[in-house]
Amino acid sequence: MANTKKVMDYKYTSEKGNVENMPFLKRYPRNTAKTLWVMKPIVKVFQLLGKTTVHRPVCILYPYEKMWVPDNYRGRPGLDFNMCLGCGMCVRMCPTTAIVLVDAPDDDGNIVKRPQINMGRCAFCGYCAEYCPVDAMTVTPEFELAEYTREDLIYGPRRLAYEGTNDMMKVELEETLISDVKNGNPERRIKPFMIDRPELDSSKCISCRKCEKVCPVKAIKMVEHGTNAKGRPILWPEIDDSKCVCCHNCVDDCPKSALHIKEVL
């Protein structure tokens, strides 16, 4: 310690750099040999020995006993097959691209689009559950996912179902709009990204009907707005606000990028 040079003229150099100025550690008796605390280490050892002997074990016998986890624990994602719209919001938000939409037969035998998750890629971030517009995707407390092959890690739409899904597992984001705060009403809204709506730039629209076909909730109707120079009808999409869940599918699939999301802030 003889080599320590103090450069006190540095701007941030402190003069309080002493154990005496530490509010908690100064309580610990230093210089044990010089004080009356000569016996302290020995007393302390027996104290700790007694304490740890009567303490219940911290470990658990894992495969037989399991740790309790709360319901909002973010384990693997779960899916309610019948509630899902097949909108692909989870696919869009997944940071690791673990989710893809696949064709699956529903209860009536119709082919519908449903998410399939590769658990080997899943990062357990919970974004799919947060951004699901209808709470079909949930987080589940299931975390034991080891399998023998990589193919077994791919969870299809039916396998994703989790028995015992309760309301705590539905991740419901509550956000406050800044405009609401300015109006003096700072209320929390559940999943306010769903009030965003796609907006049409009608000069770019070529009436291709792609948005109508891709909409998972059939919120888009093509409405005729006169005829063009060749005598064909000009069709512009009209969005039904009550049905739209703001899944961005029409915006992504528009070939002329005539649609964009107008955010409500």
Binding site: M1, A2, N3, T4, K5, K6, V7, Y10, Y12, T13, S14, K16, G17, N18, V19, N21, M22, P23, F24, L25, Y28, T32, K40, P41, K44, L48, K51, V58, V69, P70, N72, Y73, R74, M93, P95, A123, F124, C125, G126, Y127, E130, V139, V171, L173, E174, E175, T176, L177, I178, V181, P186, R188, P192, F193, I261, E263, V264, L265
Partner: protein, 380 residues
């Protein structure tokens, strides 16, 4: 002590033996993670050292340029597994600065609480590593036992233990849950008692003291010039903490002490970190009082736009390991143009030559343990 031996050796210049480069790492018990420390030895004395990092480079910054802003938050968790909360917090703060968005008051306090829990669990992980480096497994086990309580608090708060993914652009993911509100004070009270037992294991052991006191000495001036930050810097007598001197979130409304020691050896760095554990407990208690006073229905998250306007933003905060900084260049689209991370450990480990030169080879693990290596953020 070790430096005096060096002087004697230089003066007498007898017993000339060949110098030898010893390569410690990348798989070595002292290197927590994948990195190499090449040391040149003259007998037992270290005469030169060179750190080699980069084994864990995974192109984090480049990867960010291909993702929307919301998708980077879980990635920022993976920068450092022990300090996941502070890194995602830092990222969100940087984007909020670029957006010109101020976070609701409740979210500020929740972020402070979450950061301090993260700091405690990170410091406990470091203390456990110091225990194993010095060959005392009891310290390791007891620290990990205490750390479990804080991990459980994280589960109650946000549903995940380590990669929490909790801060969001504009606030935090969810409000504090009832379970968290119930358990946090109990956990703090339990920990403030249990930490004294761990301190008794270390401070009453002459083996620990003789290996930590007087090793790895830096002067205050050296420390500033080398760019060392965090508890390693405050153990060298530099009184600087971003939480107090450049306050972010709600730290300016909370009263706490910044521990500083002038000795500048490994022991003082240890003491500063342990005192920080107590101070973090104090901050958590005070911030939780404020959160309860704010009320249950207060907003905790503002809706943020997905696109960030063109421009740059820079933000820094006090990581458990030092000063971490993010620099964002936005081009008006939904993805960042560039995101630069300044990792505290990358700078701290570059100071390993002045730290270890002059000490003995057996002291190198102790000295390097005091900068708390984390390779995830160093190599990015």
């Amino acid at each position: 002590m070790a430096r005096d031996l060096m002087d004697i050796r230089a003066e007498t210049d007898e017993l000339t033996t060949d110098k030898m480069w010893v390569i410690m790492g990348p798989q070595h018990p002292f290197s927590h993670g994948l990195w190499t420390l090449k040391v040149e030895l003259d007998g037992e004395l270290v005469t030169d050292a060179e750190p080699i990092v980069g084994y864990l480079h995974r192109g984090w910054e480049k990867e960010c340029e291909n993702r929307s802003y919301a998708k980077i938050v879980p990635m920022a968790d993976r920068l450092c597994y022990a300090a996941s909360m502070t890194y995602s917090h830092l990222y969100c703060m940087t984007v909020e600065k670029a957006l010109g968005l101020e976070v609701p008051e409740k979210a500020q306090y929740i972020r402070v609480v979450a950061d301090e829990i993260c700091r405690i669990s990170s410091h406990l992980m470091w203390l456990a590593a110091v225990g194993t480096d010095l060959g005392n497994l009891t310290v390791f086990l007891w620290c990990m036992r205490e750390r479990e309580y804080w991990m459980d608090l994280f589960v109650r708060l946000c549903g995940a233990r380590m990669t929490t993914n909790y801060p969001r652009i504009g606030g935090v993911r969810n409000d504090i849950t009832e379970l968290f509100d119930r358990d946090v004070d109990r956990c703090v009270q339990h920990f403030e008692k249990a930490l004294w037992d761990i301190i008794a294991l270390i401070d009453d052991s002459s083996i620990f003291l003789s290996r930590m006191k007087g090793t790895g000495i830096l002067t205050c001036e050296q420390c500033v010039n080398l760019g060392i930050t965090g508890p390693a810097m405050r153990g060298n007598g530099v009184d600087f903490d971003i939480r107090r001197d450049d306050p972010y979130e709600a730290y300016d409304k909370i009263d706490f002490e910044v521990p500083v020691l002038n000795d500048g050896d490994s022991y003082s760095r240890y003491m500063v970190r342990v005192e920080e554990l107590f101070q973090s407990c104090k901050i958590i208690t005070r911030a939780m009082q404020k959160i309860r006073a704010i009320g249950k229905n207060a907003p905790y998250r503002y809706k943020a736009p997905t696109n960030v306007p063109a421009g740059t933003a820079m933000c820094r905060l006090e990581d458990p390991r030092g000063e971490s900084l993010m620099y964002l260049v936005a081009d008006g689209s939904g993805k960042p143009y560039r995101l630069k991370v300044r990792s505290p450990i990358f700078t701290n480990v570059s100071a390993s030559k002045p730290l270890v030169v002059g000490s003995r080879i057996a002291d190198v693990p102790v000295i390097m343990a005091m900068i708390d290596m984390c390779l995830g953020e160093t190599d990015r």
